[in-house]
């Protein structure tokens, strides 16, 4: 598969994503500077973590107007896959490609630690090889990770099974203490209604090798690759 990783000024997880996709999983993975206005024929775009444009004003507020974003939106509207990780998730929310927004952690502190997130649905291109209820151990690394959506939006997310990941205990239970940032309904990741755009606060790219303490984040990248393979087996 061909992955494109969008790099904004202030992105800092693009090489981790490239490492997982290219060096570990053997896929094509190119970095794309945010000033570009056109995209080549990518199967999946990744918006990596970091502090795009310094997170000034609001997280993602400026990045959402970077020149490349028009092409990212077009790609998403055509049904192309887009995954936003951490800051990438915030940018996708600002761009209106995902519902809701990420607010300051209730702890008022930057949180950098391992958490557990549960796969709530396997009916997405990003979780197809997982099992429903599977618990992934992945790190979070953010100051604004508290998911928020209004009541109507949350109800719609539940009806359409758009909540893809929830923060849980290691045993997969929804305990208040397992929700690190005060996210609404423990939401760690959501997809759009068409299910081709995913955003999540945890960093699966930092949990893709046993050496890093967990390889369970790899399942997300493998799901994407598996999805691509199933779509056009001849060309992959």
């Amino acid at each position: 598969m061909r992955f494109g990783i969008i790099v904004f000024p202030g992105s800092n997880c693009e090489l981790d994503c490239q490492w997982v996709l290219h060096d570990i999983l053997g896929q094509q993975a190119e970095l794309i500077w945010h000033k570009e206005q056109e995209l080549k024929d990518y199967d999946c775009l990744i918006l990596p973590g970091g502090f795009a444009h310094g997170d000034y004003l609001r997280t993602g507020a400026i990045a959402r107007f970077s020149p490349i974003m028009k092409a990212v939106e077009d790609h998403a509207r055509r049904g192309g896959l887009v995954m936003g990780i951490c800051n990438g998730f915030q940018i996708l929310c600002e761009a209106g490609l995902l519902p809701g927004m990420l607010l300051r952690n209730t702890t008022l502190s930057f949180i950098c630690r391992q958490v557990y997130m549960r796969v709530e649905t396997t009916e997405t291109p990003f979780t197809g090889t997982c099992a429903t209820g599977q618990v992934l151990r992945v790190p979070i690394n953010h100051n604004e990770g508290r998911y928020y959506a209004d009541d109507r939006t949350l109800a719609r997310l539940k009806t359409n099974k758009q909540v893809v990941f929830r923060y849980v205990t290691s045993a997969g239970e929804l305990f208040e203490k397992a929700n690190p940032n005060g996210s609404l309904d423990h939401v760690a990741g959501v997809c759009n209604e068409q299910r081709n755009v995913l955003g999540l606060m945890p960093h699966p790219e930092r949990a893709a090798e046993p050496l890093l303490g967990s390889a369970s984040g790899r399942a997300i990248f493998e799901s994407i690759i598996n999805y691509g393979r199933a779509l056009s087996p001849a060309s992959r």
Binding site: L57, M101, L103, R104, Y148, A149
Partner: protein, 84 residues
């Protein structure tokens, strides 16, 4: 043409938890201030426009708020326009 100054106030929508505000409220209470019902923290921006009439300035600022300065999912905004 005169200079126009706009004061823009952006606040979290009511009903959205503001942990910063809560913390400041707690601190005010610790300092002995009685009767603090609620503290909400927001952003205050001053935008100076040059060579734009008052009517256009008002329209422009409204547009700026909608497009960039506030996120309608989480924030409300209001602004005042005055001669600088």
């Amino acid at each position: 043409m005169e200079m126009i100054r706009a004061k823009v106030y952006v606040t979290l929508k009511s009903g959205i938890l503001d942990p910063q505000g809560e913390t400041v409220k707690g601190a005010l209470e610790t300092l002995g201030f009685a009767g603090v019902q609620d503290v909400r923290i927001g952003k205050f921006m001053v935008i100076t426009l040059n060579g734009v009439g008052r009517e256009d300035a008002t329209r422009n600022i409204e547009e700026m708020c909608k497009k960039l300065l506030a996120n309608p999912v989480i924030e409300d905004y209001r602004f005042e326009v005055e001669e600088a």
